[in-house]
Each structure stands twice: as C-alpha cells, then as structure tokens.
Symmetry: C2
Subunit: 192 residues, 2 copies
Amino acid sequence: MKIEQIKDKLKEILDEKRYLHSIGTMEYAVKLAERFGEDVQKAMIAGLVHDVAKCLDKQQLLNCALKSGIVIDNIMRSQIELLHGPAGSYLARQLFGIEDVDILNAIAYHTTGRENMSKLEKIIYVADLIEPSRQFEHVDRLREKSFEDLEKAVMMAMDNTLKYVIERGGLIHPNTIYARNWLILRESGEVR
Amino acid sequence: MKIEQIKDKLKEILDEKRYLHSIGTMEYAVKLAERFGEDVQKAMIAGLVHDVAKCLDKQQLLNCALKSGIVIDNIMRSQIELLHGPAGSYLARQLFGIEDVDILNAIAYHTTGRENMSKLEKIIYVADLIEPSRQFEHVDRLREKSFEDLEKAVMMAMDNTLKYVIERGGLIHPNTIYARNWLILRESGEVR
C-alpha cells in the first residue's frame, strides 16, 4: 500500500491530534533514518503507522493485541494503554499488508522498548517522543541528543519516562528496564 | 546456633562498620516484627545475618552465589555487589546452620526485592535501609512510614533507590521492578 493510501486510512481511524502526531513522528523518523543510515522508506512507514491502534477502545485493544503474537503480560493488562503497541503491529498487517518484521517490531515495542532493539526500533521509539507536538521538560535536549547519539537518546528518553512513572506511582514495564540495562551493558562492552 | 555465637562469628568476618550496620538492622527488624506481628526470633536472625557475605571478594561472592540456588543473571554478574544477597543465603546455611527458607529468602533478596515478598522479606528490606547509621535524603520519612505501613515503606524505598540508580546511569535489577509492580497491583486489588 502506498503512503498516501495509508494516510487516508489513518485519517479515518485516528482523531486529528493523533493523526498529526503520526505525521510528525514519520517526519522525524525519516530525518533520523537519514542521519543514522537506516532505510528511509521503512522509517517513513513505521513512523506513520506506529499509533494505528491508539484510538481503539479497551476491548478492541485487547483483542488485537492478543492476535499480535506478542506476549501480553499482567502489566499490559492492567495498563491497557501499553497494548496499543502490540495491537498496532497486528493492525499494520491487517489494514496495510505490512509484513516487514522490523517495521512490525518497531510498532509493537515503541512504548516499552525491549532488549537488543534494532536501529529502526530505536528510531521510532525516539521519533515518537521528539516530534513537534510533544511538550515535556527537557524535550529540546532530547531532540538535540537524538541527532548526536541515537542510543544515548533512547537511554535519556527511558530515564525521563521512568522518573515520570515513579513520581506518579505507576507500573513500570520490565521491557523498559531490560532495554535500558542492555544499552548500559553494550556501552560498557559487556554485551555485543 | 545462638545469637551470641552468630555475633562472634560475624565480628570475625565483617569490618566494624558492617558489623554495626548488622546490629542496627537486627534491632530495627525486631521492632518491625513486633509492630507487624512477625516472628521476632526469625527477624532477629535475618536482620543480624543479612550482610554476612558483604566483605567477601569478587571471586568468593560469585562462588558462594552460584552455590545458593538463586538464579544469577547478567545484571548481578555485572554489578557484583548484588551477589551479596544470594551469597549471604548460602553462607547463612554453611556458617550458622540456618535452614528456615523464609530467613534464607529474606537474606537472598534484601537488596533487589522480588515479586510477592513475604512479611519477613519486607521487614529485612526496610530495616536494612532505615537502621541508625543510614543517611540519605528522606531517611526520616522512610523510618516513619515503615512503622505506619510496611508495604508503602517498601514501595517508597524502591522508588528512592530507582531514582538514585537512574540518576547515576546504573543498572536496575528487574526483580525490583517486579516487586514494585506487584505492590501496586496488590494495592489496586489486581493480585492477591
């Protein structure tokens, strides 16, 4: 399916704010792909489609997520919002015929991250947070860091997210911890 | 083995600072056990013995931890200090003949915590942090909270620890996340 067709479909199923966020994420994903030598077309599609499941209701989210093939744990069941990643990877196949596993994983794990993320997964994780409509403390620093060092930007974004969630007494998805530990161990040469 | 004999042995293998910390932890563990209806004798032993492996060198720590029966993951291997819990549970059996599984677990998991901690495990986790020699921001608030609500105190202590580790770019042990999520899900009635 062509980009314009995907956009038309997304306009139907997302609210305006979420649609604009998707366009912004796509644009940043393309910039990061160019900066770090990733396939630009893949980054464009993954960025555009990453939130395809965002406007589903609770039951739809759970149904789609269960069909995604991703393990749905009690943290995701309790914090239903986390299901929009896995549910999105299922919908990306169903609605747009996307079969590229790297794109599907980038969609599935864009909120939690995971161990040993691919370059595309890191790009989508970061682009989702730095696109123009995002407003939070230090977002400008994160934007800068993203173009300097992709892995450090993922780490910085995860640290921000973790501190935010801790302050609010929220659940932390273990995948974020595994992802962050992996980055630290990689940096120190303990994993390759 | 009697408490006095354990103390004599600990004096031999711990430095003075660590020995005094052990006595302080034991005293707070007893107070918390009285407050929350836990077996005082068990709390006394677990508090006294929890850091028995603290002064081992790296190789000894690894050897003892591997013999403990606890899963030693790459986070523990990379952050050797974390091994003193599992290693301590092994030494507690070897040196003092302690066979009570609840005491051994309280020693093994006193640094990371874990899902579904027993009351004794929570008491030792907290007593270790609030004993008189401990100095950190909000330690007084944590001391107060410990006698009001043990689970909330564990949660508060974990939040402090996580924020501290995040600020320093350190590895986070997943068990702490599982423990914290468990407490949140328990509070909201989602696990029993």
